[in-house]
């Protein structure tokens, strides 16, 4: 087990390094291929009014004339060990996870990312609870009642669910429930959990349900397919033959086997979501990481964009690492292969 954990850990770290390289490449190397000069990139740091000499100086200070490898090394070191920026007038310390400073506000990127975290996390955790419980139970019932009205109705709804973009369902929900009926708060409502938990949940209710509906549809379809397959297995018949109650057969033998692929998917989905529920946050104007990413991209604020992309990638890698380890714990075949 220990070797397996170590192997997966190394794999995860390697993955993060590759992702950081690709991210760096896209934002620093591709623009240079496309003809953006070091001066043009440096001018973003100093503003439009600067003289060519200042720009040249800043480009030199930020190391835009160095080879790409050196530039990447400096970037990676900033994240791991922090960085120092020498502005001539004084040295500025940028502590450990240093993603640099925003072009627009001049603030360090990392604290901004942390500020946005609770919103996205609240959104993801509530929705995940709803969609896992809802999707899996609907899938199980559909599989057990195959061909009945319930099965057809729920699978029809699920197919519609995977075909509906979240920004459309989100907007419809706002039109109907917030602006039409006035039952739920308008878009952009956010209260911190520590401030008022009831208000927190009330504000997030609509985003939770809309987001959960989208995912529940996929999970219901997958659970149903998995259950249909496992319930036909010999060991399920054996379990029935030895006189287990139907509930035990379904839950302990059928569902348990059907859940493994769903667990993998959940790891990736949840990781992706914590890294920024871009569409949901844009639709409901929630101040989370996804909205942060969109704003950063609109403003062409490279340090912020890189920060949020890497931050998001971290969550996916960590989430799938946890899932893999859980897997190995549940199923001995995984860690032995």
């Amino acid at each position: 087990m220990l070797t397996y954990i170590i192997r997966r850990l190394i794999g995860a770290i390697a993955m993060l390094i590759v992702i950081s390289m690709v991210t760096f490449g896209i934002f620093f190397v591709v623009p240079q291929w496309a003809g953006s000069s070091p001066e043009a990139m440096a001018s973003r740091y100093v503003g439009r009014a600067a003289t060519p000499e200042t720009v040249h100086l800043v480009a030199q200070k930020l190391g835009f004339y160095d080879p790409v490898i050196v530039q990447y090394g400096r970037f990676a070191k900033g994240i791991v060990a922090g960085a120092e920026y020498d502005y001539g007038a004084g040295v500025e310390q940028c502590p450990a996870p240093c993603f640099g400073y925003s072009f627009i506000s001049g603030q360090p990127v990392w604290p901004d990312l942390l500020d946005r975290m609770p919103v996205t996390f609240s959104l993801a955790i509530g929705a995940a609870l709803l969609w896992v419980l809802g999707g899996v139970s609907v899938g199980v019932i559909s599989a057990l009642r195959r061909g009945t009205f319930f099965d057809r109705l729920s699978m029809g709804t699920a197919l519609a669910g995977v075909s509906l973009p979240i920004f459309f369902t989100g907007m419809l929900s706002l039109v109907v429930f917030s602006y039409g009926l006035g039952w739920t708060p308008p878009g952009g409502s956010w209260t911190d959990f520590t401030e008022n938990p009831a208000q927190w949940a009330f504000n997030l209710l609509l985003p939770w349900i809309t987001l959960a509906f989208l995912f529940a549809a996929t999970y219901a379809r997958l659970t149903r397919a998995g259950m249909l397959e496992t319930m036909g297995e010999d060991y399920v018949r054996t379990a029935r033959a030895k006189g287990l109650s139907e509930r035990d057969v379904v839950v302990k033998h059928g569902l348990r086997a059907a859940l493994t692929p769903i667990l993998t998917l959940f790891g990736i989905d949840f990781g992706l979501l914590i890294g920024g529920a871009v569409l949901t946050e844009t639709t409901y104007t929630l101040p989370g990481l996804g909205q942060f990413a969109i704003l950063a991209i609109r403003n062409q604020d490279l340090p912020q964009v890189m920060g949020v992309v890497l931050f998001a990638a971290c969550f996916v890698v960590v989430a799938s690492l946890i899932v893999d380890l859980l897997y190995a714990w549940v199923d001995p075949r995984v860690r032995l292969s």
């Binding site: 896209i26 973009p165 907007m171 996804g290 992309v309 998001a312």
Partner: protein, 330 residues
């Protein structure tokens, strides 16, 4: 005394061939695609999806004649349809009339019907071309990984893991956001369409790659491949003549199922404002403009329904196609 068996009449007719002739229609050699087609024909829901897909493609191809026949140019302003004090459409139901079938947009009064029809062209074009890109990359990668195995499989497998772990949407948005206005001999939205096709296709190849790899892995061990190899066939011959033709069915199925995903992807990018630039009409872009007009449900409803119907039609057809090709499904 038993009556002698009268064999004279029927015996002459009892040629083995006649048996075959009589049953000829049923026992005809049936290829996989023929079986699939027979199954698909019985699947009413999938057929409905398929017919809708064909209709949508026709609408997309003939979008300009349709618009000139039934609507107004999608970029044309119709201020006369707008109440200048509220900036909302004058008529009821968002200005729906025989002249403006689905009403007009607030503020500038553009014809929503024409914009939906014109948006179909962009949506399907990007959805289908991006799928082609992923199919090509996915097939090449999947076949190499599955057929050669070993370190090629290791590397490609890891690569697919990396792609699956990427925060794709954030990444694609970031990438789409830095597209220059000019490059590769293209300009403006032409370049954006090309780049979006590439970005979307490039990020969604692992799903096809996985399927192709799995299929190749099992095909490689089949008798006909052994037979070809024992006759002295080279890898190239085996790949193109023995394996690839057998991959066509799964590739077709999963490509059909990838198109709706890619259409949603494009809609999401346009919704977020990093897809096709306005004023060129796209469904996602129309939805993002509708955000400001919550009091006008039709403005939200029509582009949303257009996306929904298109994606649903492709999903229904793709699901049916998969069941038709799946030997276990019946």
């Amino acid at each position: 005394m038993t009556a002698p068996l009268d064999v004279s009449g029927s015996a002459s007719e009892a040629r083995p061939e006649s048996v075959l002739e009589g049953a000829g229609k049923a026992v005809q050699g049936r290829s996989l695609s023929r079986i699939a087609w027979m199954r698909l024909r019985r699947d009413k829901v999938a057929l409905a999806g398929g017919i809708t897909v064909i209709l949508l493609v026709l609408v997309a191809i003939f979008s300009s004649p349709i618009i000139s026949l039934l609507g107004h140019p999608p970029l044309e302003f119709h201020q006369d349809q707008i109440d200048q004090s509220t900036l909302l459409p004058k008529g009821d139901f968002g200005g729906m009339s025989s002249e403006y079938l689905l009403g007009v947009e607030p503020v500038n009064g553009r014809d929503i019907f024409s914009r939906i029809v014109a948006g179909a062209w962009i949506s399907l074009l990007i959805g289908i071309l991006a799928t082609l890109v992923s199919v090509v990359i996915g097939t090449v990668m999947g076949v190499i990984a599955g057929y050669f195995g070993g370190w090629a499989d290791q590397i490609i497998g890891r690569l697919m893991d990396v792609f699956l772990a990427f925060p794709l949407l954030v990444f694609a948005i970031a990438l789409a956001g830095v597209i220059p206005d000019k490059g590769f001999g293209l300009e403006g939205n032409g370049l954006r369409i090309a780049m979006l096709v590439f970005i979307i296709g490039f990020f969604s190849w692992p799903s096809i790659g996985r399927i192709v790899r799995g299929q190749t892995l099992s095909l490689r061990e089949r008798e006909f491949v052994d037979a070809a190899r024992s006759l002295g066939a080279r890898n190239g011959y085996i790949l193109f003549r023995e394996i690839l033709p057998n991959l066509m069915a799964p590739i077709l199925v999963y490509a059909t199922l990838l198109i709706p995903t890619n259409i949603l992807f494009e809609a999401a990018l346009s919704f977020l404002g990093v897809g096709i630039n306005p004023p060129t009409p796209t469904w996602g872009g129309m939805l993002s403009e509708a955000v400001r007009f919550y009091t006008l449900p039709h403005f939200v409803l029509f582009p949303g329904l257009a996306i929904f119907i298109t994606v649903l039609a492709f999903n229904l057809f793709g699901d049916g196609l998969r069941d038709a090709f799946d030997p276990r499904a019946h």
